[in-house]
């Protein structure tokens, strides 16, 4: 099954990429964009077939490697 790990900068952590994207969007003429945050998504194709176990495994991978919890938070979704 597939696990999607979404990693975002924590609130309060500077997000230069999000800021630059917001800036670029407004100079392209897109109005009404209040805030932009840029993060990562990692799609894992797992052999595990039990959703709960797959989720637990992906969370473990996120904690150990995929996210740096000093600056990032993550969420895991199993599909």
């Amino acid at each position: 099954m597939k696990a999607l790990v979404t990693v975002m900068p924590k609130a309060g952590v500077l997000d230069p990429q999000g800021k630059a994207i917001g800036h670029a969007l407004s100079s392209l003429g897109f109005a009404g964009v209040a805030d932009v945050r840029a993060g990562k998504v990692i799609e894992l194709e797992l052999a595990e077939t039990d959703p709960a176990k797959a989720k637990a495994a992906a969370e473990e991978m996120a904690r150990k490697l995929l996210a740096n919890t000093v600056i990032e938070s993550f969420r895991v979704e199993v599909v």
Partner: protein, 232 residues
């Protein structure tokens, strides 16, 4: 001084570091591939050099921090060993939890390759003994993720305990926003561990140890290390 330079897949400034260490100490350092699980007996200094370990894919330094050799480096540090991380090495030290904070993408979102100036904020450490506090030196920087970040509490502790080693400054030593090209918090370029034995910094003093390459501004760091470790 028995220095060991760790080589991760994608490390690319190990030779620069070896040249600087040899110039200061007269001894060739040992290059150790990351798959090793122990440091050579008698190691005085471990250096994590610059480069793009594992391509810096995911986050700079994240995958290298999980390499087999890093457990040995942690044990070495826990016993009071000296560990220097430059550029990618600094990133690896923060990812491994040996130094606090993290290195974010440069605020300019561009790779920055240029000389910068740094003010020495703490002298008398194994890394800064050859400088006075407030001295300014020059070094090339070359990084995409050098924007030092830590939370307010950590920042207060670093400042309070005098663990900020270097700040980006003007050539005259003023701490300005313009001198802070990558957007680091409070111009922090390098920090120290509480026991002053672990040091991480973004710029490359090892690339400025020879008048031919434009100067010897970076040499005091290495002569400091040689003297401190010889008498240790």
């Amino acid at each position: 001084m028995n220095a060991v330079i760790i080589v991760f897949p994608g490390t690319n400034r190990e030779r620069d570091m070896a040249i600087a260490l040899e110039r200061a100490s007269g001894r060739k350092p040992t290059l150790l591939f990351h798959r090793a699980d122990a440091l050579p007996a008698g190691t005085d200094l471990v250096v994590l050099p610059g480069g793009f370990s594992h391509g810096d894919y995911l986050r700079s330094g994240a995958m290298a921090a999980q390499s087999p050799i890093m457990q040995a480096v942690r044990d070495f540090a826990a016993k009071g060993g000296h560990v220097l991380g430059v550029c990618n090495g600094f990133q690896i030290l923060t990812e491994a939890g040996l130094l606090p904070g993290a290195l974010l993408r440069n605020a300019t979102l561009r790779f920055l390759s240029m000389d910068c100036h740094m003010r020495v904020e703490r002298s008398g450490t194994p890394y800064t003994a050859h400088w006075q506090k407030g001295a300014v030196f020059r070094a090339p920087m070359a990084h995409g993720d050098g924007n030092y970040f830590c939370d307010d509490e950590t920042l207060a502790r670093l400042n309070g305990e005098g663990l900020v080693a270097f700040r980006y400054s003007t050539p005259a030593g003023e701490i300005t926003d313009a001198a802070n090209r990558n957007g680091a918090r409070q111009n922090i370029a390098g920090i120290l561990s509480p026991n002053l034995r672990i040091c991480g910094l973004m710029p490359h003093p090892e690339d400025l140890v020879d008048p031919l390459m434009g100067g010897t501004d970076g040499l005091p760091m290495f002569t400091s290390l040689v003297e401190s470790l010889a008498t240790a």
